[in-house]
Symmetry: C2
Subunit: 322 residues, 2 copies
């Protein structure tokens, strides 16, 4: 099935859980669409087993520390973990201060925890595609948990995080944080809310979040719990993983996990088809000499933009709506 | 040519410079694509005469006051003005404090100054389309100048402002403003830089901007002048309009105005065609029952996203790349 023999060897190494092969395959998937497709053809059948946890929070909320603690907790239960960081300021992405990175060393050195950071592609589409692709590779590799770290703000963020089965929103005590949360629509998407650095007057924020939650009605019958943690001391991490497992049970029993993943697949397929078509259209438009004549006509006011666009469009549309 | 007789009457009123007709037509163009097209068919031939000035600057830079003063200066030279505000915090958009709006009253009451604010459509495409459409209507109405007010930040902003013939970037003295300017790429797009509120230590900022300009080489042979104004007292406004007229002369003589407008027309046509095609694709995707089967296959791992997307795409592509 794989034409490229090197690729075939790489894939079999990958299936023998070779970390280097994992790293190589992610790089290929990120940078070589064509070979990436071959890899997906070979690996995709082994996916769908990993559980994806999205963890979002503003820089400074300490979510990276929270994530490393959470990953360690998962490991202590014999589970393997893949981490995808989309926060450029995160120590996982090489950002942040040395102190943070030192703290990370412990988990970075664990062979069963694989960390990959995704450079923002600018466009949200590219970002969510890269995240999805890497998550799929982690899944095929056999990771039990995949943790996605994002900065919780903006539509791009929300698009990315939608691939998660459980979404954890991290807050820290600090002026207006809870209001920001509602603005950013964070609360609507959060399945679990965490107040980290809870030692800094976290109860007040926790209360604000509970109150904010009261004003949202949810169809799913799940009221997001508000947890308090002090990640740097490992306080509340066990409880967080338990909350994640509870949410997982809830959506599995309610059939919401299936639904969530089906919806996501449908969105993704449409996303891909649209971007591919746009590529084609763009190519055609740039080859089409007709456009230059039309520009002249619009410039000289023989045509207006919309009539010109119609003239350019009609033949294309005819072709493809038949 | 216009089928709709009410529309025909509206257009003839518009051509008799009826302000109410102008307002109605803008509303139609903004909200009714089909009738909007008829209007463009009728009006577009009368466009291309107005000179478009884009004025961009962060909220608080005082650009709204600057714009009203500038509009008054244009009026004092017997010119008519249309203002399009895309800054939700602008008094033109009904934002800002009462004080500002009181200050605006003077120009709002001038029958030869027409103000329209565009609500952000979220997507940059919608925003620049609406702005273009309204500018075209102002142009057809016979406005000598069209001023577009935007908050100078982000790609959406830059797309919108590109329709302007002369771009004025407004800064105010304040920490890091000049650095922000370079970050936002504001300086690359500015034809004229204005330090407003210059009484607040504006010379320092002006110097910073001059230095920033030194690090950009331009092909056009135009070095953006850095002006200082105190808009609220009308200081430096006359000089600003003269700088605008000088830039206008420069780009007219150098043939850059034509070029700029041709490029803009081409970009716009492509924009429209792309969005129309996307609509069609979207429609087809949502009607296409095939997608549900594919989602099932991907969910059950018979297919992966990319092979599924290919299956959906191939027939469409075949049709329209022939």
């Amino acid at each position: 099935m794989i034409r490229d023999s090197n690729l075939e060897e790489l894939v079999s190494k990958f299936q023998e859980k070779d970390r280097l092969a994992l790293a190589r395959i992610i790089t290929i998937v990120e940078n070589e669409p064509e070979r990436g497709k071959e890899i997906f053809d070979a690996l995709y059948k082994n996916t769908g087993k990993a559980y994806i946890v999205g963890i979002t929070g503003s820089p400074g909320s300490g979510k990276s520390t929270l994530i490393s603690r959470l990953a360690q907790e998962m490991r202590s239960r014999g589970k393997t973990v893949g981490i995808i960081s989309i926060d450029p300021s995160s120590p996982f992405s090489g950002g942040a201060f040395l102190g943070d990175r030192v703290r990370m060393r412990e988990i970075v050195s664990d062979p069963e925890i694989f960390i990959r950071s995704v450079a923002s592609r600018g466009m949200s589409g590219g970002l969510s595609k890269a995240t999805y692709d890497i998550a799929t590779v982690f899944d095929a590799y056999g990771k039990d948990y995949i943790i996605i770290e994002t900065v919780g703000a903006g539509q791009a963020e929300v698009d990315v995080i939608k691939i998660a089965d459980t979404i954890v929103c991290v807050f820290m005590p600090g002026a207006g944080d809870s209001i920001q949360a509602q603005k950013a629509g964070i609360i609507e998407i959060g399945d679990i809310l965490v107040v980290n650095k809870a030692d800094l007057n976290g109860d007040k924020l926790a209360l604000q979040l509970e109150m904010a939650l009261d004003s949202y009605t949810r169809q799913t019958g799940w009221r997001p719990p508000v947890l308090t943690t002090i990640a740097i001391d490992g306080v509340g991490i066990k409880e967080l993983l338990e909350a994640i497992e509870e949410h997982r049970k809830h959506i599995e029993l309610a059939g919401l996990l299936e639904e969530r993943r089906r919806d996501h697949i449908e969105r993704k397929i449409k996303e891909i088809v649209e971007s591919l078509i746009q590529e084609h259209v763009y190519k055609q438009l740039n080859e089409d000499k007709g456009i230059e004549k039309l520009v002249e006509k619009v410039y000289s006011r023989e045509e207006n933009l919309y009539s010109a666009a119609d003239k350019l469009l009609k033949p294309i549309i005819k072709k493809f709506v038949g």
